[in-house]
């Protein structure tokens, strides 16, 4: 945990009383004492430095310093064919760690229907995993997650309405002509929508429907990566293309 996060409505005057995993981390991992400074952040708000005021066995009271460093909205959103729960759990923390604006979890022919009944898709569970990712990254901006149980309405209605938000909408798909660097020669500017398929890949119908709505495909090379390897690899590459 590289930042202690709390909601604005947890603030009481100039203090915050923490319990649960945040207090445990401060007491048992950081072993902080009264007077010690801690990096803190208001969820979806600015970061700052606070001071440990007092600790009990299970709670920590923080005295808030100025929180003035506003977070930077990440320039990437992801559309992801809903992965199996164990993978989704990792991916939620991962996307928050790397920083994305929105995560659209969508259906696709090769997504198992049962994945949509995963308890992990509850709003609280999603939030908890995203917060774990932000606590790792040191950021405060929660990605907005939405769930789309039907592929076609997503591709035909939702996607076209938001197409103008993006500089490019791109799709990872094996066997197509260009790699990412060829599709988006540096320096990369503007907002990107990155679309990532299910284990086993998209079916042709899906690729051609997305292509028809302005999505451009690129290949990942000859190796077959799991989604929890694809996401950090591609987010790393997009970040690099902005800096070249």
């Amino acid at each position: 945990m590289n930042i202690i996060l709390f909601d604005r409505d947890e603030i009481n005057g100039s203090t915050v009383l923490l319990s649960g995993h945040r207090a445990e981390h401060i007491i048992n991992v950081l072993k902080s004492n009264p007077g010690d400074p801690l990096r803190t952040g208001i969820i979806n708000g600015p970061t700052g430095i606070s001071t440990v005021q007092q600790t009990s066995g299970t709670t920590v009271e923080l005295l808030l310093g100025a929180h003035t460093t506003a977070p930077t909205p990440p320039p990437v959103d992801i559309v992801l064919a809903l992965p199996r729960p164990i993978m989704l759990k990792r991916v939620l923390a991962q996307v928050a760690t790397f920083g994305i604006g929105r995560l659209f979890l969508i259906n696709s022919n090769r997504v198992e229907k049962s994945f949509f009944s995963a308890s992990l898709l509850g709003e609280d569970k999603i939030r908890q995993r995203l917060l774990a990712g932000l606590e790792q990254a040191g950021d405060t901006l929660l990605p907005q997650v939405s769930i789309h149980k039907r592929f076609r309405p997503f591709a035909e209605d939702v996607l076209p309405k938001m197409a103008t938000d993006y500089q490019e909408m791109i799709l990872a798909h094996p066997g197509c002509q260009f790699n990412l660097g060829e599709l988006l020669p540096p320096p990369l500017k503007g907002r990107i929508l990155l679309i990532i398929g299910p284990e086993g890949g998209w079916i042709d119908f899906e690729v051609s429907l997305l292509h028809g709505h302005g999505v451009r495909p690129f290949h990942l090379g000859p190796r077959i990566l799991r989604v929890d390897s694809v996401i950090p690899s591609l987010l790393g590459q997009l970040d690099l293309l902005r800096r070249l």
Copy 2:
């Protein structure tokens, strides 16, 4: 499992008899029947297509086709401060999935001594995790893993002897001047040695010792990533820099 791997000495004439997790995968996941083709590979050797000859409840006999596609040795090696076992487990599969030549697991001031007694560091366990990564990637080349329990002899004796193998030796370290793209402007050529620190980072002495032996530092940006996010992100970036 995107390829079925076996050792050369498992081949008996033109067949291989599989049991254990490979047979289970073919029977229960792929649900292959006699006559079905399968992508196969000889560990550290070429890949090809084989045919399911017969299956029992727990074994599968394959008839080998020509194995002629030689694997490409990856142009990256990694030096990694030994992570905690649960992270190491992921990292071993991950580096094999992405493809690296060698993995040097080294000590550093902020590595807990107990990590070196992890049962995962047994040769068989390491090999098992690497094979899992190769089975995902569809590759056959096992990364060579070595363990170095003392930092200084590694940095002062091992590293200088292999320095000429690399175009660049680079070190991920926060707060330094350049990012990866600035350090290695594209197109990237030649072999890279990528050095990644422990949770909590290197100490100054370590950075300056490595620097003194020709290692150049770069920063990863403001977000704090775990090692299982850093590795795919950087391997993705290095791969991209070769293709620009």
